[in-house]
């Protein structure tokens, strides 16, 4: 791109990236803004607002008996007569459009013709009391015509031929139950395989993972005088909720206001389901004129919101004797369940990453997302990448074994470095920041890889075996071709010298918004303690795009930079006038103390620090001089390029890279696995929020450990969820964690990221499962290819292979 075409907001980010070498706030340990309110129990989460609304109505969802059936009739009369019931709402009561589909309009808010999974909403009970509402749900009589239930995506599509099979259609209104088909076509795969010295092929399966954020979904809707509605909701994406609710109510978007209080975890799960429950609460408020509440129980949450797509994949890798990769072939099928949700986007992200962070000269990959009657799958931290990374990183270890090479050496032979092209033909330059090799080298050094790999191969103590394994990752930054990747932020300097920070990006624990404040503080010179982050509110905070795809720090940070840059420029000119030196010389600095006040901040000239004035005086002067101290910052990621037929182009603005290493001890008689130690080495360009980064390295690893070893939503053959609460869906507890997780940070610097930063939210889970399973395979000398790799699966796998006799 010619220099003249680079937008001003990109130029600002590039300028600040090259200018800042030392930092006062960025990359430092600074307590997040809401820590005290959260540990004292004062922080308000959505359901907590109920203590202020004394006379709300409760909304309970009537769900079906069957996972797949036509609805012949719905009789609500008995439920309506139940004492305490105010109204029963069905599809015919929806004033606007009966649809909450995220990517494609395939998901009715209230089903009237057909149910497609076991929690498909049919009717809403609006009642004076939550117990009454749940009881009355039993009195809605629905006549069904049951249909055969499909829980296995391979009943819909053939994994070898990728052709749709004869099956009972789930979405007969569409041409096919295959909703997406993405392709990569590069070079001549058949020729490469013929010429290869080694070919390895395997089938891989990954489980359906549940977010299990600790706060179940909640929304409160308050009717407004103009026919609009205000919604308090636990959502990652307030502007998406606004759009969905406006559509369902049939009102314009400016009549729907969405406010986001504290959120108890999201991990991608609080995207589209909150559109659904927000709309349900809004409908009840519309019909009753009273505040209306939807709070999911844990059971409703687990059967009623999106999950991580299960994957079935067939992979074939071909290489030369020296380990050089010649070709990768793969058929990847993702089960998106009853509705598309974000499935098409997940499938796209999956295929982009499907061959791994390696030089792959020849490739043929097909990725399909198909409907089943399972709970729908959508966004979950990693978004398609953890699934394919599990497959290709186990393929790399299988290949290394066939070649008699060390897994590290095979990867060193093939990894992407500066100057290489990705499988899509995208050239990786210094501007992208390509620190993959450094993550690998530092990780294996700190863990003493070669020694342990050899020692553990021979380790056998009773029934205990030890293993060490690794996995590499790449993760595209920005949302690519999925949508317009814009972000924005507003900074307002108040007359007392404090700062108000507004963005539509949300915090659900990750702390990325605090990273934006650190960026603003760095540029303005005003310490982060003097900032107040306003809760996201569609009526006041600017639309910053959805809080997804590890984009808050990168895109939101770039927008924040723009706002802070413009403000700082004006303040420098004003202060230069007051002090009598040049604007470039203005320094704004605060003393290092926790309870810093605006009047403690000093503004002075670099060449003559005796020329100084208080920050509060500069702020006051700005009002007299007519220098506005409010500023809006915007950023839009460069457009992604993707050829639908070949998968060639430049899908992402840059990539986060990483190397994960795991050490495990396996009891081969019980199948029990203890993860002893992990190294997580990430190239995130630049660490902005150090506390947040470390917490992600730990939290992502723990959630990834769950994905690898224990977590799976299980449907029975009727599509009924058997793992519907935390008593039968297991997540890691405090005694499941590794003894230690060693974080390593590589700061390669991405020219168009804020101070060089790349995203970390999702990458932190992407390669954990393959690292752990590669270690288990090393320990057991067996090739397990499925997660979650539960004790049963390990025990049965070893028994069937004749490796244990019990």
């Amino acid at each position: 791109m010619a220099q003249a075409q680079v937008p001003e907001y990109v130029r600002v980010v590039e300028e600040l990236f090259s200018k800042y070498k030392e930092f006062i706030y960025v990359g430092k340990y600074i307590q997040r803004w809401d820590a005290v309110s959260k540990i004292t129990g004062k922080a308000l989460f959505t359901a907590d607002f109920l203590k202020f609304y004394k006379d709300p109505v409760y909304v309970y969802t009537v769900r079906p008996k069957y996972a797949h059936a036509y609805i012949k009739s719905i009789d609500t009369t008995e439920a309506e007569r139940y004492p305490g019931v105010i109204k029963v709402l069905t599809a015919k009561d929806i004033p606007g459009v009966n649809d909450v589909g995220y990517v494609i309009p395939d998901q009715p808010l209230l089903a009237d013709k057909k149910v497609r999974y076991i929690a498909d909403p049919i009717a809403l009970i609006v009642a004076e009391d939550k117990y009454v509402a749940a009881e009355a749900a039993e009195l809605v009589h629905v006549e069904y015509e049951p249909l055969p239930v499909i829980t296995d995506p391979l009943e819909v599509v053939d994994l070898k031929t990728l052709k749709e099979k004869e099956h009972v259609r789930i979405h007969e209104e569409r041409e096919s139950d295959i909703i997406s088909h993405f392709k990569i076509r590069k070079g001549d795969v058949e020729k490469a395989i013929k010429e290869a010295d080694v070919v390895v092929e395997n089938e891989y399966r990954t489980g359906m993972q549940e977010h299990a954020y600790l706060e179940p979904e909640a929304a409160i809707a308050i009717p407004e005088a103009d026919g609009g509605v205000t919604i308090i909701a636990s959502t990652q994406c307030p502007f998406d909720v606004r759009k969905a609710v406006a559509r369902v109510l049939g009102v314009t978007q400016n009549k729907v206001r969405v406010i986001v209080p504290a959120i108890g975890g999201g991990f991608g799960g609080k995207e589209d389901v909150v559109n659904e429950i927000g709309a349900k609460a809004a409908l009840a408020a519309y019909y009753t004129g009273r505040p209306a509440v939807v709070i999911h129980t844990r059971e409703e949450s687990m059967i009623g919101h999106s999950k991580r797509h299960p994957m079935v994949a067939w992979y074939r890798h071909a290489a030369k004797k020296d380990g050089t990769l010649l070709a990768v072939e793969a058929n990847i099928v993702l089960d998106t369940g009853a509705y598309a949700s974000l499935g098409p986007f997940v499938a796209w992200r999956a295929i982009v990453h499907s061959t791994g962070p390696y030089k792959v000269p020849n490739a043929r990959v097909d990725t399909l997302a198909v409907y089943t009657n399972n709970v729908y799958a959508g966004a979950f931290r990693g978004f398609g990448n953890p699934q394919v990374t599990f497959a290709f990183e186990l393929q790399m270890d299988a290949l290394a074994e066939e070649l008699g090479m060390d897994p590290v050496d095979l990867r060193l032979k093939n990894i992407l470095r500066e100057g290489d092209r990705t499988v899509h033909g995208q050239l990786l330059t210094k501007e992208h920041g390509v620190g993959l090799e450094e993550t690998l080298k530092r990780a294996i050094e700190v863990i003493d890889w070669y020694r342990k790999r050899k020692e553990y191969s021979e380790f056998a103590e009773g029934t205990l075996r030890k293993g060490i394994g690794l996995a590499l990752l790449w993760h595209g930054n920005s949302i690519g071709v999925e949508g317009a990747d814009y972000s924005s932020a507003t900074i307002i300097i108040n007359r007392d010298g404090t700062v108000t920070f507004r963005t539509g990006l949300t915090d659900f624990g990750q702390g990325a918004v605090w990273g934006l404040v650190l960026i603003a503080a760095e540029i303005l010179g005003v310490p982060p303690q003097l900032f107040r982050i306003e809760p996201p509110d569609t009526s006041s905070t600017p639309d910053a795009g959805p809080t997804v795809a590890s984009r808050s720090t990168v895109m939101g940070g770039a927008a924040t930079m723009n706002a802070a840059y413009k403000l700082r420029k004006r303040i420098n000119e004003l202060a230069a006038n007051m002090l009598g030196c040049s604007p470039d010389e203005i320094v704004i600095r605060a003393p290092e103390k926790e309870d810093v006040k605006p009047s403690d901040v000093e503004v002075f000239c670099k060449s003559d620090p005796s020329k100084k004035v208080k920050w509060t005086d500069v702020v006051e002067q700005s009002f007299w001089d007519g220098v506005p101290l409010q500023e809006f910052g915007f950023f839009r990621a460069p457009k992604a390029e993707w050829d639908e037929e070949t998968g060639q182009g430049a899908p992402y603005v840059t990539y986060t890279f990483g190397t994960m290493v795991a050490e495990v001890t396996v009891d081969i008689e019980t199948g029990a696995v203890k993860v002893d130690r992990m190294v997580t080495a990430y190239d995130i360009g630049k660490v902005i929020n150090r506390v947040g980064a470390e917490l992600h390295a730990e939290g992502g690893a723990i959630q990834g450990l769950g994905y690898a070893l224990m977590e799976e939503i299980v449907h029975d053959k009727n599509g009924v969820v058997r793992t519907y609460n935390l008593s039968n869906y297991y997540t890691p507890l405090i005694d499941d964690i590794p003894d230690e997780i060693i974080p390593i940070w590589v700061e390669s610097g991405f020219k168009r990221g804020p101070f060089g930063a790349k995203g970390l939210g999702e990458p932190s889970i992407v390669a954990i499962a393959p690292a752990i399973v590669n270690a288990i395979n090393h320990a057991t000398k067996h090739r397990f290819t499925q997660i979650p790799l539960t004790p049963e699966r390990i025990y049965l796998g070893l028994k069937r292979a004749g490796k244990i006799k019990l």
Partner: protein, 177 residues
């Protein structure tokens, strides 16, 4: 429940109970089926008590009832009649932090924060019984609390640090911000 149209939904009798929450007595009318968590949260306003699962699996709602650690989602309000309840709001006087809370700050443990009230109460309960717990004892004491963001390492460190504070007689701290 069988459908009986003659019955109005609120015909269950109100029962007046007395709860001592965080050192203060409250007389409150409850239904026989009402859970302690709902009374604490919605009738008395102690929303620091969080509901994560409704069946005693996640530990977000734990409170101290006469010194014992109980999930308030599994206790009927009437059974708490006359009992002394401590919630996260009662760990320290207004404007102060309890040693456990100070330790959460010192270890930079906070992420989404939804599990923290439960962890704070569980650690306080542990330290009341055992002011010098080993790492194994800490893990055992916190094994009923779920943190999905994965702050476990920090929570173990925080429990150790809090035990040091308590043993040094430092129970309450000023809030700096």
């Amino acid at each position: 429940m069988a459908f009986d149209p003659s019955k109005s939904w609120d015909t269950y009798p109100d029962i007046e109970i007395t709860l001592n929450v965080n050192g203060k007595n409250y007389k409150v009318k409850v239904k026989p089926y009402e859970r302690l968590i709902d009374v604490l949260r919605y009738k008395l306003g102690f929303t620091g008590v969080k509901e994560g699962c409704g069946r005693g699996e996640c530990g977000a709602c734990v409170v101290l009832m006469d010194g014992e650690l109980v999930p308030s989602c599994l206790v009927l309000a009437v059974r708490a009649n006359g009992k002394k309840i401590i919630t996260v709001e009662g760990l320290a006087p207004e404007g102060k932090l309890h040693a456990v809370q100070k330790a959460f700050l010192d270890t930079f443990a906070v992420q989404c924060g939804f599990c923290f009230p439960g962890f704070a109460i569980a650690i306080k309960h542990l330290l009341d019984k055992n002011p010098n717990p080993s790492e194994e004892e800490i893990k055992e004491a916190l094994s009923g609390n779920l943190c999905r963001c994965g702050s476990y390492y920090r929570l173990i460190k925080a429990a150790k640090l809090a035990s040091e504070y308590v043993r040094q007689g430092k129970i309450y701290f000023d809030v700096k911000r």
